[in-house]
């Protein structure tokens, strides 16, 4: 398994990024509490953000090497077993989040929620057997790429929404209230989070549609309520219903945050649970 050292190095870089992000936010929060201003801490804060960005970029590069090395060795992409699916998600979530972190400064504090969440995936991947997979005959299909690609953006936008939702929920507790004092009002974070969830819905719909085209080619039916199809439809409906509930009922911001997190949790179960617990999932694999 020549890719393992690269994988561990990539995970280590994520871990350092998470620590740097936590330290940075903690320092910013406490300095602000005592000094009481943004400008006085801005230079050390900028340096910390640069360090987090550098570490996350390093990690994404190392994971790219991990995937490329494995791909060359086993002859196909990371589409089949849980081990390679998780590495691939660590890579793509990391890539999208790093770009968002770089381009949208107001999102940077969400790293204290997002990076530990990705840590869960990283720990999970490390306890799995790094076995090679066999590429099923029905996977030789361009729609697989579209399906997987759209799914990656869906999950990444859910993750960013969850980062914001996490910050909204955490800041109602005393300790974090101080830490997150520098952030905009919840109203603004909430609005931003739901923007990402709307974008997530666009990509979720694209993923379902590309998946249906692939299923038609691969198994001769575009929809058959198998485990993965049922679970991802429910996930799509939960997201649509959450967006509706928010516009219909003027849902309190913190309840909205819980809804966003529940969409991500459902997506995690759908992606990383259903296909590996149910024999019926995507039958063509078997």
């Amino acid at each position: 398994m020549t890719e393992l050292p690269w994988l561990y190095a990539g995970i280590a870089a994520y871990a350092f990024a998470a620590i740097a992000a936590l330290v940075g936010v903690a320092r910013l929060g406490t300095t602000m509490a005592t000094v009481g201003g943004v400008s006085s801490v801005s230079e050390s804060q900028r340096n910390n953000e640069r360090l987090v960005l550098l570490l996350m970029t390093t990690s994404v590069i190392l994971l790219t090497i991990t995937l490329a090395d494995r791909w060359l060795r086993i002859g196909h992409g990371p589409f089949v077993n849980l081990f390679e699916l998780l590495i691939s998600q660590l890579f793509s979530l990391g890539l999208v989040y790093t770009i968002a972190y770089w381009r949208i400064p107001v999102l940077r504090t969400t790293s204290v929620v997002v990076l530990p969440l990705m840590g869960v995936l990283a720990v999970w991947v490390m306890v799995l057997e790094p076995s090679d997979s066999v590429f099923p005959p029905t996977y030789h299909n361009p729609w697989l790429w579209a399906h997987v690609g759209f799914g990656k953006f869906f999950l990444a936008f859910c993750l960013i929404g969850t980062g914001l939702a996490g910050v909204i929920l955490l800041r109602s507790y005393g300790f974090f209230k101080n830490l997150f004092r520098h952030l905009p009002d919840n109203v603004i974070l909430d609005k931003l989070a739901w923007r990402f969830m709307l974008l997530a819905l666009v990509f979720d719909s694209l993923m379902l549609c590309a998946g249906a085209v692939w299923a038609q080619d691969a198994w001769g039916r575009y929809w058959a309520w198998d485990a993965l199809e049922t679970s991802s439809f429910l996930n799509w409906l939960l997201l649509g219903a959450s967006i509706h509930a928010r516009t219909t009922y003027n849902v309190p911001i913190r309840l909205g945050a819980v809804l966003i997190i529940s969409v991500l949790v459902f997506a995690f179960v759908t992606y990383f649970g259903t296909p590996f617990y149910s024999e019926a999932a995507h039958k063509g694999v078997i």
Partner: protein, 350 residues
């Protein structure tokens, strides 16, 4: 006394609170439909989808928050069209299974396990193709790889043209799609002639799927005027579990073990055996391919509808973004104000 007006009824039908309720009902219906259990009625999906459709039509007519916003309107109309197309699809679809011998012509009678909608009106009788030989690649440990199934189709000039289908590339004839499956195997072709010469028939006995049932290649057949004959096929296909291997009927040989009333005879292709009632001849060994058959005239429309629906949603997102880039204006304004010492706290609708 309250006066009931059409617009009042419409407004009630269009309630977005109902939308949430019907979505919940649809979620229950979807969960019940998981894995298509026999005892779950299709109505658990039809009822909530119809209620949602009614709700949506009423909203589109009466709610300016949906009918005045181009992208959002296209998205919701698209959702409606997908539901309608799915319904038409279920009413007109057909699916089934076919096992066809290499060298034989397709005919509708060989289709089994047929499920079709009440309005199915495809021209299955016009489907015409001849099954050719096929190969299936296997990697070590018997991992199935790609299937290449050769078929011959009429070229509309009185001749035939060859095509290769398999896995993700179905054979498409008259709107019917034939997908190769893991189900394929061998079939000895046999002829039977009764002693008095009055009965002469030739047929193929499909042996169980190969290599899945490599260990029990047996079947039986009762010819007209004869006793039941039990067959067991001893195959030489080059199958190895350690190395890569290709299943190719043209390279396989098979000895047919024939058993009538406890009497056992081994036959090679071209050999025959006399038994009570007649003579059985083992003509040749061939293969059969199992296809899954699928017909749904809405497929292309469904794809188009889904594409337009998502484009509508993307346009809606884009319109929001253009009106207010990612809500960042607020955030940036906040940062500036924060630096000056005041924090805005207005709650604006998203």
């Amino acid at each position: 006394m309250r006066i009931i007006t059409i617009s009042g009824v419409l407004r009630r039908l269009a309630s977005t609170k109902l939308t949430l309720l019907w979505m919940l009902l649809l979620a229950v219906g979807a969960a019940l439909s998981y894995d298509n259990p026999e005892d779950t009625s299709i109505w658990v999906l039809i009822v909530p989808m119809s209620l949602l459709a009614l709700n949506l039509i009423a909203a589109i007519i009466s709610n300016p928050r949906i009918n005045r916003r181009g992208g959002l309107l296209v998205f919701h109309l698209g959702l409606l069209s997908i539901v309608v197309l799915a319904a038409i699809g279920r009413l007109t679809h057909m699916d089934g299974r076919v096992e066809i011998i290499s060298g034989a012509e397709f005919s509708p009678e060989i289709v089994t396990d047929i499920h079709s909608g009440p309005l199915h009106s495809g021209a299955l009788a016009d489907v015409n193709f001849v099954q050719g030989p096929f190969t299936v690649e296997y990697r070590p440990q018997m991992m199935r790889g790609l299937t290449y199934s050769q078929v011959a189709l009429p070229d509309n000039k009185g001749g035939w043209r060859e095509a290769v289908v398999g896995d993700d590339r179905p054979l498409l004839v008259e709107g019917y799609r034939f997908y190769t499956t893991f189900n394929k195997g061998f079939a000895p072709i046999l002829s039977w002639t009764s002693h008095d010469g009055r009965v002469a028939e030739t047929g193929a006995v499909h042996m169980p799927s190969y290599p899945l049932f490599d260990f029990k290649q047996s079947n039986s057949w009762t010819p007209q005027g004869g006793d039941e004959i039990k067959f067991w096929l001893q195959l030489e296909t080059g199958l190895t579990t350690e190395e890569a291997w290709v299943l190719d009927g043209r390279r396989a040989t098979g000895t047919l073990v024939v058993n009538v009333s406890g009497e056992r005879t081994e036959l090679l292709p071209g050999e025959s055996v006399k038994m009570a009632g007649g003579t059985l001849r083992y003509e040749q060994l061939t293969t059969w391919m199992g296809y899954k058959l699928f017909y749904d005239p809405t497929l292309q429309w469904m794809f188009l509808a889904a594409f337009i629906t998502i484009a509508g949603l993307a346009a809606h997102f884009w319109q929001k973004l253009a009106a207010e880039p990612l809500g960042l204006d607020d955030a940036l304004r906040h940062e500036k104000q924060h630096a000056k010492g005041s924090v805005p706290a207005s709650r604006s609708a998203a």
